[in-house]
């Protein structure tokens, strides 16, 4: 292998490192902050998803609901509930999200729901913003909701 070839490879590797650093700096400058939320834009760019906690009024049961913009490489079945092999509810394509900034429009969205005590199994260190508690990690949510599920279970009788 010639010295010129090695030099060329070294330069290309250097360019790639600089490119990665530039990308990192750009991400840092555009990171989400309270002064730079751009929630709708970030949702459209797959940077954010929305999580809802829904309570069934009669039973008190709490469900987690996750909404994420449809990704081009995933093919949902419109209007059909996908049942996963483990019998739990899977994803569904809905038109539940409306962008309120002009021009207003509906965004096709993937959504899945599950009981809250088994909902939080992803990205244990991911940080979210909650309407109730402010900044909160998935780990805290998981422990909190698991506690709620335990507390809300029917009381057991002891003899």
């Amino acid at each position: 292998m010639s010295n010129n070839h090695l030099l060329q490879e070294g330069l290309e590797a250097g360019d790639q490192v600089i490119h990665k650093i530039n990308q990192l700096m750009e991400r840092w400058e555009k990171r989400i902050t309270l002064r730079n939320l751009r929630i709708a834009d970030r949702f459209l760019n797959f940077e954010l998803h929305i999580i809802l906690h829904l309570r069934v009024k009669d039973s008190g049961e709490v469900w987690g609901l996750c909404l994420e913009k449809v990704r081009p490489h995933l093919k949902p079945i419109p209007g059909e509930l996908i049942i996963l092999p483990n019998g739990k509810q899977g994803t569904m394509l809905v038109n539940n999200i409306k962008l309120m900034d002009a021009p207003e429009r509906i965004v096709p969205t993937f959504v899945w729901a599950e009981r809250i005590n088994s909902f939080y199994r992803f990205w244990p260190h991911a940080l979210y913003f909650s309407s109730l508690t402010g900044f909160v990690s998935i780990e805290v949510l998981r422990n909190r909701e698991h506690g709620i599920a335990i507390r809300s279970s029917p009381p057991t009788t002891t003899s």
Binding site: W28, H49, H53, L54, V62, I97, S131
Partner: protein, 98 residues
């Protein structure tokens, strides 16, 4: 019944809390019907500085929005990962993250 997250801390702090006293009764609603109803009846409005979720009053299963969250906010989260597709395969990877 709706919850909303807005950009300013004051507004965030004013979002009412509640619903901590959950009582569970015996018997579950039909899961698939409930899930489908949950999917179809929930509406979310997104703008640059707020996220609002609501379910029409008097919906079939008496669903209420208890909490709204958005994220992930951490800088190192891989934004290219789909959380929905992740859920589809989570059984096979759950051991590695728990």
């Amino acid at each position: 019944m709706s919850k909303m997250v807005k950009c300013t801390p004051e507004v965030m702090n004013n979002v009412s809390s509640g619903g901590n006293g959950i009582e569970r009764q015996n018997g579950d609603a039909n899961l698939e019907v409930l899930a489908r109803s949950t999917y179809m009846e929930t509406q979310v409005h997104l703008a640059s500085d707020y996220c609002r979720a609501f379910i029409p009053e008097g919906n079939k299963h008496g669903l209420q929005v208890a909490e709204v969250l958005f994220g992930p906010l951490d800088f190192y989260a891989n934004q290219n990962n789909s959380i929905v597709s992740f859920q589809g395969h989570r059984e096979s990877v759950s051991d590695t993250i728990t």
